[in-house]
Symmetry: D3
Subunit: 68 residues, 6 copies
């Protein structure tokens, strides 16, 4: 499946931090460039996400703020 | 000002595409890794964004979907 | 690819309305239940989206407001 | 009050899962079509949300990704 | 209808700027405090939004970034 | 750094409520007008956010729903 989201970056999971309902997952998409994602714990279990996994960070263009 | 957003990536503007009210800005944050942002034309003018500028892509962790 | 997004609804494209940079795409995911999406025109072209296509509406749980 | 959000789907609450600060609420908006929402625990208490309630899932068009 | 969104601010519409598919609406919610919203032109027409109207800005807590 | 986000409101932190991974921060940006933000606990620690701090609420225009 191809996505309309303009930002689709494959990488490697470097951290999974579980809370009660929300988890934080960190994906390294380029050397030293780590994207942090906040997703449901349900999703972490559903995808079986763990450190070392190949995973993709997906971000809709409308969610990106620009600073200058 | 420091931001709560977990994803703050400095880079270089490689494209600015203006519509009537919405513009798309592309920022290269690592070699070959380009983040696309959809912002208001008003913001493009306000920041004076143009190709070649140093700029930063800012993304809240809660906006990042993970795929596996 | 499996997604962390909790809401992944397959359906049929019933409308594509293109603006200069932003397009609106409507997907019927159940009889009479139409989801409206606002995406980049670039994405519409990239996916070749047109009326009648099978397509999927994807929504992160953190983007859903509840009313009562 | 009428909302600008293009996606306003009434349904029935089928699950409420409370964490420390964030809760997940599931609303069935069509037979078998369940929308998952991640909201604050404060909001769950404020609305008195519980299984069996009539409730509405509200989603802005700019938050919907399209897959094909 | 009561909303789970933690930020619901009534005010007065001070500007409506229409593009082809996206419009920007500005609502003054306190003296000198103007909230800018980017919504579909379809929504502007649907709500009949015009300068001088009483309207409400609604923002989910998960969409607010904090700077310090 | 100047931001593309159209809504940048300075104020004072009036509450910080920490969960396991997600925290809620309330910022008063005008007399009686309090904006609630849901951010990562990591960000709260990173910014050293506490009641009484001067802080800024930042909201992208595309995240604001209008009601009428």
């Amino acid at each position: 499946m191809k996505l309309s989201a303009r930002n689709v970056f494959p990488g490697k999971v470097v951290a999974v931090n579980r809370g009660q309902t929300t988890a934080h997952v960190k994906i390294e998409v380029a050397p030293g460039l780590v994207i942090t994602s906040s997703i449901t714990v349900e999703a972490v279990d559903d995808l079986g996400l763990k450190v070392g996994d190949t995973a993709t960070a997906i971000i809709k263009a409308s969610e990106v703020i620009v600073g200058k």
